[in-house]
Symmetry: C2
Subunit: 255 residues, 2 copies
DNA sequence: CCAAAAGTGTTTTAGTTACACCCATGG
DNA sequence: CCATGGGTGTAACTAAAACACTTTTGG
């Protein structure tokens, strides 16, 4: 076991060379709220395993890039998007999660404004949009189902239903103590739009005045003075999200 | 690029063989509350890099074991413990986090009753106990310092200060909506002990009656009828943690 | 003036905190 | 009977929710 060219490890347990290495991938749950429904962008698999099934966009982590960089690259390559809010979710490492080989995947979730989905869908024919169906009670192990525009539920490849289930759970959990909700709206938005996003994610109707005050009391919304247009009723004021980390004393985006 | 022995991938991006693979390790933040202080079990490194520095126990993930299994094995090998509460924390994948090679580490945190630390410390001379010093405000990027029994602060190897910082943050965040606090106490405990654990983790004094009622109202504590002994004042009642998942309708331990 | 949704004021409720007090035990 | 911490009752406070209401626009 001695090695003249490099360091001689004191024991095998500290030497990566003696063990076969797993592959490491990044998978992305790219979500948005579209027409009142929490949705996800999926890719149709064109080869085995799970040929024809829908899957989260993903790819191998390269030796010279960080996990965050890999996630950003995959988002660019598969969905033609950049500058998107993205956060690490969980790492899935079951031995048999990929029937071909040992693959550990670091899952990320990403949030975009609904309008940006359309560009991605036009750019790639393999991409498609699905509504996420979440069982609130009577859990199925945390997994979710997906439902296409014509109402058909479809199977997901690998353990991606479980990954997506955890993504929804995380999104729900962070919604009221972190500014993730604003990532799903354009730069200027009405309080009604914000409420619709919250209602879609939590799958629960809310009281308008209560929601309004709760949001305004957080102090992260700035009234623009502008109003929405194109509506037949009284136009609502447009608000902008004020990132507290960019004005207050230096804090990073970690919520 | 064709391969007669196996499948022929339609494109290189789906073929793990064309990329150099990173190594994957698991690192453990094994924490407890001892004498009113949040503490962590660390291992002194006996070789470069960071020779002499303190580090989280860790090891490579083997090709035939899951991440959770790897974490359990490392806990057994390095700290002679089993049956310990453990949860995945975050995956750290900066390219230069290990100067020798590309190593991605899946960090876990584990919680044990303070008494179990002593056994581990006796079993291995390289292990030592440190108090965790957490800057509440004026963050240092989420990292924490460690402080030995004689008051000396010591450097941590690799990015382990950052990992430990995230572990403390996660523990603080889960303390009041998940039963993690009970993992740090013996099977039977007094409400005062439970309060001391919460105060140590959150680094904040609390009101006794308020804390007492808040805990009892959760409905997860069962009075045993027994009392503590060996005290010179009125002995407090001993309580036991009642896991709602073991009695109610089937839910798994995921909080 | 009417319909529809924006936006406001007031009451109710629930959960937490603060404070004062009594109880049980050992010495 | 005193010191010490265990345990309980009550009032005050705060945040959220529910409800009724007024305002503003397009038609």
């Amino acid at each position: 076991m001695s090695d003249q060219t490099g360091q001689i490890p004191a024991s095998a347990e500290d030497d990566p060379r003696v063990y076969e290495r797993p592959s490491v991938t990044v998978d992305l749950a790219l979500m948005s709220v579209r027409e009142g429904a929490l949705s996800v962008l999926l890719l149709r698999r064109d080869r085995a395993p799970f040929q024809g099934a829908w899957s989260l966009p993903g790819g191998f982590v390269r030796i010279e890039e960080s996990l965050d960089q890999a996630a950003g690259r995959i988002l660019r390559d598969k969905a033609q998007m950049s500058g998107v809010f993205m956060e690490q979710l969980f790492t899935f490492g079951a031995v048999d999660r990929d029937p071909r080989a040992r693959v550990i995947t670091v899952a990320y979730y990403a949030l975009v404004e609904a309008g940006r989905f359309d560009e991605a869908l036009k750019a790639s024919a393999e991409l498609s949009l699905f509504e996420i169906l979440v069982p609130w009670a009577g859990e199925t192990g945390g997994a979710v189902a997906i439902c296409s525009a014509d109402g058909e539920t479809e199977p997901l490849a690998f353990d991606h239903a479980e990954i997506l289930g955890m993504a929804v759970k995380r999104l729900r959990g962070k919604l009221d103590y972190s500014p993730v909700g604003f990532e799903l709206l354009p730069e200027r938005f009405t309080l009604r739009q914000l409420q619709e996003v919250h209602e879609a994610i939590l799958d629960r109707r809310m009281n308008k005045p209560a929601f309004r005050r709760r949001m305004l009391d957080k102090g992260v919304l700035q009234a623009t003075g502008e109003r929405e247009s194109g509506v037949t009723y009284r136009p609502a004021e447009l608000y902008r999200f004020l990132d507290p980390s960019s004005t207050g004393p230096g804090k990073n985006q970690e919520g």
